[in-house]
Symmetry: C2
Subunit: 322 residues, 2 copies
């Protein structure tokens, strides 16, 4: 790309996202200058989306912009953090103005919704690849970690995992369904809603937390591993959406929830003694979370149904494939 195109691209991103008083210098200098509030810890995450790997090559640009930020917001949600500032590294094969305008709007709309300022970035020429770095804050020593769970802690998940895997299958023409189902599932894949408010609220209740990005079973297993224990999930307790069930049936819907990925929900654990307070102060019907299992002494992540352990591969969503 000629230099003038880079200048053009940068114009699409200057001043996008939220306006924040704690940004002393944003885009336009060698680096951003930011005010860290006293008494808080800084939380930093980075995640990359690659065309053809994390999204189908022809995905709507607004979705790519939304998801590039959403996956990082989800990481901060899992720490119980409040997001503040983002940096965007965008590698593009060419400067397509219509594409850029939609991408920037997808990114910016989600950024504004979570009061995130875009404070810096880099635009380079190359195969389509988007890396976002997200910075936020959490009160000192209050962050939710993966490592805080103990045997007997109860396990919960937010929302209805599996929808995004269904939506990806729709995008890839591996799944057909009635139009209202298609609309719902596509939206769940293309525009996931990171659980920032839930993550912040859980700081007072959860013993451990992880975001569900690679499939609930695998991610619950990572939480268990980090906590030095194991986890048992109850198949029939896995929450799945009615629309996903209409598309694939209840059995496969739960399989997608356990192994599908791209959900950006939160999986968290709560001490048995705290569960009453959790349910009272954060009513599950309002906050949208479900009890799905229990932490146990023996390592590993298992799923049980009617007292029997079920076998799962990590490629459930490939069942749609040829």
């Amino acid at each position: 790309m000629p230099l003038s195109e880079f200048a053009l691209i940068e114009r699409y991103f200057r001043g996008r996202g939220a306006k924040r008083a704690d940004v002393r210098v944003g885009i336009g200098d060698d680096a951003a200058l930011l005010e860290c509030p006293p008494g808080l810890e800084l939380v930093a995450a980075t995640d990359t989306l690659v065309a053809g790997v994390h999204f189908p090559a022809g995905s709507p640009p607004a979705s790519i912009g939304h998801r590039a930020l959403a996956v990082n917001l989800s990481d901060l949600a899992a720490m119980g953090a409040r997001p503040a500032w983002a940096l965007l590294a965008l590698t593009l094969p060419a400067a397509d103005e219509a594409w850029l305008a939609e991408f920037a709007e997808g990114f910016s709309a989600l950024a504004r919704a979570h009061d995130v300022a875009l404070v810096g970035g880099d635009t380079t020429s190359g195969p389509l690849c988007v890396t976002v770095q997200l910075l936020g804050h959490v009160p000192r020593a209050a962050a939710l970690l993966r490592s805080g769970a103990r045997p007997a802690d109860l396990v919960f998940v937010s929302g209805t995992p599996g929808d995004a895997a269904g939506g990806l299958a729709v995008e890839q023409a591996r799944l057909t369904a009635p139009s209202e189902v298609v609309t719902y599932l596509r939206k769940r894949f293309l525009f996931p809603a990171p659980r920032i408010a839930l993550g912040e609220s859980l700081r007072n209740y959860a013993s451990a937390c992880i975001d569900v990005s690679d499939g609930l079973l695998g991610d619950a297993g990572k939480l268990a591993h980090a906590s030095g224990c194991g986890v048992e999930l109850s198949f029939t307790d896995i929450p799945v959406s009615e629309l996903l069930v209409r598309a694939v049936g209840e059995e496969r819907a739960r399989e997608l929830a356990l192994t599908g990925g791209d959900d950006y929900e939160l999986c968290f654990t709560v001490r048995p003694s705290e569960v009453g307070r959790l349910r009272q102060e954060l009513p599950p019907e309002r906050w949208g979370y479900t009890h799905i299992g229990v932490m146990r002494e023996a390592s590993g992540a298992i799923v049980t149904r009617g007292g029997n352990v079920m076998e799962f591969s990590h490629s459930g969503f490939d069942h749609f494939g040829s």
Copy 2:
């Protein structure tokens, strides 16, 4: 790549770089948790290197690791900041263990040299692309900005720009030279030394600063533009290395210095009243900087020789090409 390969890759990076007491949680959770020191501002930069764009496809992996961090260190140097924490987003076509080990060591050696801890990252499958986000600190309101220069401020540059463009030409077999020259120029391209110590020291002297990554003339022009004025550089005052002169002659060496790129030197301005103190307290022969021009009222960036304005394109280093 199978999941197990990602786990392998992450093992190469865990605990790399410097150990720092202000890292509460590093690699291994959903995000890093970091302690911001009171009274300081946070400085954040991100830069991407793409194979075939920012480095030749077969570059030594240690150089790619080094440069991915160096380009960001240079951004922080230009703000007068002290670096602290890095996040690494690495997109790789395959998990080649020998490549990874060299890449990680190139990154880590430079990180340790500047007391930078690697606190997070993401590994994805795709075309080779490296994005680093670097965080650091600067005392409140002390950062060097591009926008602080005024007409009559003197302009300086560190080191000997142009060497890196010569080194790239060697790497691309567009330039041949005696072996000691080749060794020197390749090193200047493959392992640039960001001017962190100089940047920090300049906080007390410089009115504006930018890092020289896209060619001295263009970058001095960006500084001038941000400051709302222009800049005049003196061709015969542009410092070039003896070895570059041996390779390409003095005229072309200065042309490379002005238009080549990849130098990661600092271009900075100083008020006329402060120049005496600068020279006394930061002796140029020890700190390695040279007076090359002056800021002026009229906008734009010009180069003069013997009172005449010279014409430059931004593609000086292409003169090696066929």
